[in-house]
């Protein structure tokens, strides 16, 4: 009785006051709102889908081009052609890489493909450098090219397969995006993902090429020079190093926060000069000390700087004093940047009047009172040698000047060791000069006279940037 009567009652009420029409209108409004939202979502999805398809299409095109260029590379017989071909491969690899990074597929699936594209580009670049230096392309180079060619074929075939599946409607990229990482688990149900996974598996045996590329694996395995043959210190000893570095007054409140297990193993500490507190902007100095030999790898103080009362020259003096008092006496200031009341000044080690750019130390100075609120020495630790063996200088200053393009008005010249790609270190003449109101640095190899690098100096209100 209860429900039926209630329903009839309900129906009765609805017929009063045009309730039916009101309900109808409201339902219509809700329905149209719903349809509108749905359509909008569909539009968004379409435009995203289009982006993905564009990126994918471009990727396939570029990879095919790379495959063709690598095949040609096997047959090239003149340095000229090698340079042209390498430039092409390098450019296409860069574009392929850029488009790969726009696909809605998890990085895990694309890791090795991405690496391959980077390395094929770098290798092509290094071959073109070789050709330009009139070095012969060796059998080993051709072997490497052959390997790269075969890998590019695998990739190209797989991508082509994927492409035809997309065209036949069997995969939609939008679906990949929506289902996210669940797809990685259900790889077998989705051809696109498993196809790329299979490519990844084949690349597992991809050897790391030994060549002069910026992204060679051997760089990541580089050992810090300053720590070679050193002794490991204990956590307690590391703590003492920190206290000595910051001064006992500042480092009263010091806490061990863990270890770093990277290429340079360190002990990490947090120092609270104003005591610990839950406040978010509580002043905290973080310091990492190398496990071997106990060097300060870096120090960072998060304190705010409110007013500026110290100018940059004063800051440079304070930084120099700081370095001198901590045993780094042979450092020369190179460039600085200044922002928000903090100056970061770069110092490089000097040996026999030659400036060693790889051996960089950075000092961060607060411009309210000149306090040192940051220190960074990874460059120095990785590359420092007390007495570096330098090659014989075969060029005189005069000869170096002649090697520079006449358009440059040369202001000064000095010797420097500069880092180039793949951590190569080269002794050069550094010539500073002006062209069209801008400053430039040109590096001429002191042994061979080759023009190694050109840097443009951009003077900004915040300091000098090199480009």
């Amino acid at each position: 009785m209860g429900i039926r009567k209630k329903l009839l009652d309900f129906k009765q009420r609805l017929s009063d006051r045009h309730m039916y029409s009101i309900v109808l209108v409201v339902t219509a409004v809700i329905a149209s709102a719903g349809i509108y939202q749905y359509k909008r979502a569909l539009d968004y999805r379409n435009s995203i889908e289009n982006q993905y398809n564009r990126a994918f299409h471009e990727l396939v095109g570029y990879v095919e081009n790379i495959e063709v260029s690598l095949a040609k590379g096997m047959l090239v017989n003149s340095p000229n052609q090698m340079v042209n071909l390498s430039a092409e491969i390098w450019r296409k690899a860069a574009f392929a890489q850029a488009n790969l990074g726009q696909l809605p597929i998890s990085h895990v699936q694309l890791d090795k493909t991405s690496k391959f594209l980077t390395q094929v580009g770098d290798y092509a670049y290094s071959l073109s450098q070789k050709s330009m230096d009139n070095q012969d392309i060796t059998d080993e180079d051709y072997n490497n090219l052959d390997k790269l060619y075969k890998y590019s074929r695998t990739l190209s075939d797989a991508l082509n397969n994927m492409q035809s599946e997309v065209y036949e409607g069997r995969i939609k990229f939008g679906e990949l995006q929506k289902k996210g990482s669940k797809l990685i688990a259900k790889a077998s149900k989705n051809v696109a993902v498993s196809k790329l996974e299979n490519i990844e598996k084949e690349f597992q045996d991809y050897p790391s090429l030994i060549y002069d590329g910026p992204f060679s694996d051997h760089i990541e395995r580089m050992k810090p020079r300053l720590l070679e043959g050193g002794k490991e210190i204990t956590q307690e000893q590391a703590k003492d190093v920190v206290i000595q570095f910051l001064g006992e007054e500042k480092a009263k409140n010091i806490e061990f926060t863990g270890e770093t297990d990277g290429s340079i193993k360190t002990y990490s500490f947090a120092v609270y000069p104003e005591g610990q507190s839950k406040k978010k902007d509580n002043r905290r100095i973080t310091v990492d000390v190398t496990k071997i030999n106990g060097y300060i790898l870096w120090m960072l103080d998060n304190r705010k700087v409110e007013r500026i009362s110290v100018d940059i020259d004063e800051a440079k003096k304070k930084a120099q004093e700081f370095l001198d008092s901590h045993g780094m006496t042979s450092m020369k200031e190179s460039y600085y940047l200044q922002n928000d009341g903090i100056a970061v000044i770069n110092y490089a080690y000097v040996q026999d009047n030659i400036i060693m750019y790889p051996e960089l130390v950075k000092v961060r100075v607060a411009l309210d009172n000149g306090e040192i609120i940051g220190f960074e020495s990874k460059g120095y630790i990785m590359t420092h040698q007390d007495k570096r063996e330098l090659p014989a200088i075969k060029l005189t200053e005069q000869e170096a000047r002649k090697k520079v393009n006449k358009r440059l008005n040369i202001d000064s010249i000095r010797l420097a060791v500069i880092p180039l790609e793949s951590k190569r270190e080269v002794l050069c003449y550094e010539l500073k000069g002006k062209y069209e109101e801008r400053d430039f640095l040109i590096y001429i190899n002191a042994e061979t006279g080759k023009e190694e690098k050109i840097l443009m100096l951009l003077e900004t209100p915040n300091g000098i940037l090199t480009m």
């Binding site: 890489q97 850029a98 895990v108 992204f215 998060n302 960089l360």
Partner: protein, 167 residues
């Protein structure tokens, strides 16, 4: 009186329906958050431009605005490390906007304006100037929140606050 009660009842039901519709549009986003929560994955160009700082700061703001200062520097460093790393896109924008790489980018937090008291700009500058608390890490995750099993296979280099940084 009954009629007034009916009208209010209908208005309430309509309100609920409209809310449900708008909510359903966002549902997809929430799902995505859970799915791509963890892996934040980013090669180098020559110079650091001022606009790079802006982009980087927005991303760090989205990802780590509640973290202590050193955590912010660490996140910025991871992004910059990815640019240099061969497995990731070679530009800052490429790394940051890589689909599924950063949650903050996925759900729009990167577009949240930066609080004037925020320390992210300073943190980004420090990272760009070479301070890397993570020693080259290219991943980071919060072990209490992550649902991704793959990330555990990476070598953890450092722990800062709640986050583990890995290579």
């Amino acid at each position: 009186m009954n009629k007034y009660r009916n009208i209010t009842l209908f208005i309430i039901i309509c309100g609920i329906c409209i809310t449900l519709y708008t909510f359903s549009i966002n549902q997809g986003k929430v799902e995505q958050n859970n799915a791509s929560e963890t892996i934040s994955i980013v090669t180098a160009q020559d110079a650091d431009r001022e606009d790079d700082i802006q982009l980087l700061a927005r991303c760090v703001n989205g990802e780590a605005r509640g973290e202590p200062y050193i955590g912010q520097v660490a996140v910025a460093a991871v992004i910059l490390n990815r640019v240099k790393h061969p497995s990731f896109p070679n530009t800052l924008a490429g790394v940051i906007y890589q689909p599924k790489a950063f949650t903050a980018v996925q759900d729009g937090q990167i577009n949240v304006p930066i609080d004037p008291n925020s320390t992210v700009y300073k943190a980004c500058r420090d990272a760009m100037n070479g301070w890397d608390p993570t020693d080259g890490a290219i991943y980071y995750y919060n072990p209490e929140k992550t649902t991704n099993k793959w990330i555990y296979s990476r070598q953890v280099v450092k722990t800062i606050g709640k986050h583990k940084f890995a290579k």
